[in-house]
């Protein structure tokens, strides 16, 4: 489930409020979105992918809150990363165009 919106990283664009398919977030009074309905999170990672500032962390566990802190996530290098792997963001190449996509398909066909 969505665990964290980093206040130090958030650029207050409210993209996450827009794109969450299950409407988990509310706009915050200070501009930083609020995780208002955490249990509605379906753990699809889309908010993290659309966040331009790598300010969000979705824990893989779909059933229970993990209770993480920004410090521990920073220390483990777990903030952001998915966007980079998918190849979204300035100067990145989308993974969809990766030559491995074809190679894997070629290998998978019996």
């Amino acid at each position: 489930m969505i665990e964290l919106i980093s206040e130090s990283r958030c650029v207050q664009c409210s993209r996450c409020v827009d794109v969450c398919p299950t409407n988990v977030f509310d706009k915050g009074e200070d501009g930083i979105p609020v995780i208002a309905r955490q249990s509605d999170c379906q753990t699809c990672f889309m908010c993290e992918l659309y966040c331009p500032a790598d300010a969000m962390y979705v824990s893989p566990d779909a059933e229970a809150a993990a209770g993480v802190t920004e410090e521990s996530l920073e220390a483990q290098g777990l903030l952001g990363g998915y966007r980079e792997k998918v190849g979204w963001g300035p100067g990145r190449k989308p993974v969809s165009a990766h030559e491995y996509m074809y190679q894997l398909a070629a290998r998978s066909i019996p």
Partner: protein, 538 residues
């Protein structure tokens, strides 16, 4: 509800008029909107979540049933799952879908989808990455001039004696009501996975089936509704295809005999039912394939990386998450090649519609479903645009009324606002357990049907408020109705065919080589629908 009461409440909300209203913004909905717009229709697309991230396709990669128009390749493609699906597919429909999918995938190339290149430098078009695909589709839909309403679930269709002419619902982020009047409505709301949290499926609660049934449409193939995907216990990611590289183990490291991703899922289910945790390890993946796998399905590895597990070398506990009709094949019955339903003005596309036409009683993730979404979406877009244009200039003056089966009132739900939650839990209790849905028996199905009928009566005895609360109440009603069509159809099919497994009738019965239509709200009915002769002959 009196219509006047409702009208007063709706006044002040957003009112739009168009030729075609598309409900749902996944692949089927966006192809429908794009195609209708390209045929000159004014189109409104209302998505329950956000068009571009909603639904099962958006978060992950998917194969597509894309086959070169080569005679042998097409024949192989048609035959590959024909038997697996219980011989309920139709050659004509497979051909149409193969043709349109080929065309649409090639168009996606032109629209700028970055297909990878094969060895000869040609674009390789047999798969799509959901985030990239759906972000592009949203952009194309916007560019085509379609009005997109995000976070705008539909609560009821509008209609008159001549058919369907619009819908209304609520904008969940503002609480404002919306109403769209349109000559034709396309339901592209996806299937129903019963809020199981299987990746991307929690917006898929069968809402479109209920909307269609309330308008008088019927369904088909609802017995093919027991798809379960393999996922780690600690994760939502159900990418069952990758488990072809897995071996399954008990806690002590001995192998689970017969377990597998394709035909061995039942073995896993039986162990889990018996209270034995099953573990997996992707130890069949050749060394040189591992880096390819990491790229092919990026988010498959995300949960493992975050949990500090190497799935190629470490054992991890697995479970089976219900995907219901999302990767089953049942849905709204399609009446002709324009993807219209039995109700004038109402069309269905994607997982909301039956996929028996191309894969009978069995499908998996992606592939056929992805092909069906983009082709049925564009068939429905063409059909709906033509129908809307045929209505003439006075169509906008129709007197329409709400078609909801549950009473909708302006009052708040008050002290019973937790009722939908209770109903949802009660339905999940009937459809999630493997020994009720995966391994079906007459006694089990009958008991479930009795309890589901009780839940339905309770829903019908109460009212639902017009605001954001109504969304959950509608989801509860849709899930209950879906489960009732599923299990009544499951009772009627006293054999094992496609993905429908009857413990008490383990063999396929040649006497039941037909489809099952179903429908009804308070009284659910099921009846056999004979296959066309030329189809049955195959």
């Amino acid at each position: 509800m009196t219509i006047q009461e409702a009208e007063q409440t709706w006044a002040g909300g957003l009112r739009l008029e168009g030729d075609v209203l598309v409900i749902g913004g996944g692949p089927a909905g966006t192809w429908a909107a794009l195609t209708a717009a390209s045929h000159g229709a004014r189109v409104v697309l209302a998505d329950k979540g956000y068009c571009g991230t909603s639904g099962a396709t958006a978060p992950s990669g998917t194969g597509v049933w894309y086959v070169e128009p080569d005679r042998e390749a097409r024949e192989e493609a048609r035959q590959s799952r024909f038997g697996l699906g219980g011989r309920l597919a139709e050659e004509d429909w497979m051909n149409r879908v193969l043709d349109r999918t080929y065309e649409n995938m090639n168009r996606l190339s032109g629209f700028g989808y970055p297909f990878p290149k094969d060895e000869a430098g040609r674009p390789y078009r047999r798969g799509l990455q959901g985030p990239e695909y759906m972000r592009l589709m949203r952009r194309l839909v916007q560019k085509a001039g379609v009005t997109i309403l995000d976070h705008s679930p539909a609560l009821e269709l509008l209609g008159d004696a001549h058919g369907v002419g619009g819908a209304r619902g609520v904008r969940t982020q503002t609480g404002e009501a919306w109403e769209v009047r349109a000559g034709a409505v396309i339901i592209a709301t996806g299937g129903c996975a019963f809020l199981s949290k299987a990746l991307g499926t929690n917006v898929l609660t069968g809402d479109g089936y209920l909307l269609a049934a309330e308008a008088g449409a019927d369904l088909s193939g609802m017995e093919f509704s027991n798809a379960y995907g393999i996922s780690p216990v600690f994760s939502s990611v159900t990418k069952t295809a990758y488990y072809r590289y897995a071996t399954f183990y008990y806690e002590d490291g001995t192998e689970v005999e017969g377990a597998g991703s394709a035909r061995g899922r039942s073995v896993i289910a039986r162990q889990l039912l018996a209270g034995r945790q099953v573990y997996a390890r992707l130890d069949k993946a050749p060394e040189d394939v591992k880096p390819l796998l990491r790229v092919g399905q990026t988010n498959f590895f995300l949960p493992f990386d975050r949990a500090g597990i190497d799935p190629f070398t470490d054992l991890f506990p697995v479970t089976l998450r219900l995907e219901g009709t999302v990767r089953g094949t049942g849905g709204i019955r399609i009446a002709d090649e324009s993807c219209r339903t039995a109700v004038p003005g109402l069309y269905a596309a994607g997982d909301a519609a039956t996929r028996e036409l191309i894969c009978g009683g069995f499908t998996g993730g992606g592939s056929h479903n992805a092909a069906w979404a983009m082709s049925s979406g564009s068939f429905a877009g063409e059909g709906a645009a033509a129908y809307a244009h045929s209505l003439g200039p006075l169509a906008g003056r129709r007197e329409l009324k709400g078609l909801s089966s549950t009473t909708v009132t302006a009052a708040s739900a008050g002290d019973r606002s937790d009722r939908p939650k209770e109903h949802i839990r009660a339905v999940q209790e009937e459809v999630m357990p493997y020994d009720r849905n995966l391994f079906r028996t007459e006694a089990g199905l009958r008991a479930s049907v009795g309890r589901l009928d009780g839940i339905w009566r309770d829903i019908r005895s109460g009212a639902s408020s017009l605001g954001a609360h109504a969304v959950q109440a509608r989801e509860a009603a849709a899930m209950t109705a879906t489960a009732r069509w599923m299990y009544r159809s499951g009772l009627a099919r006293t054999e094992t065919r496609g993905m429908h497994k009857r413990e008490d009738y383990p063999e396929q019965d040649s006497g039941q080589h037909y489809r099952l239509r179903s429908g009804g709200l308070d009284e659910v009915w099921v009846q056999p629908e004979p296959l066309r002769k030329e189809v049955a002959a195959q």
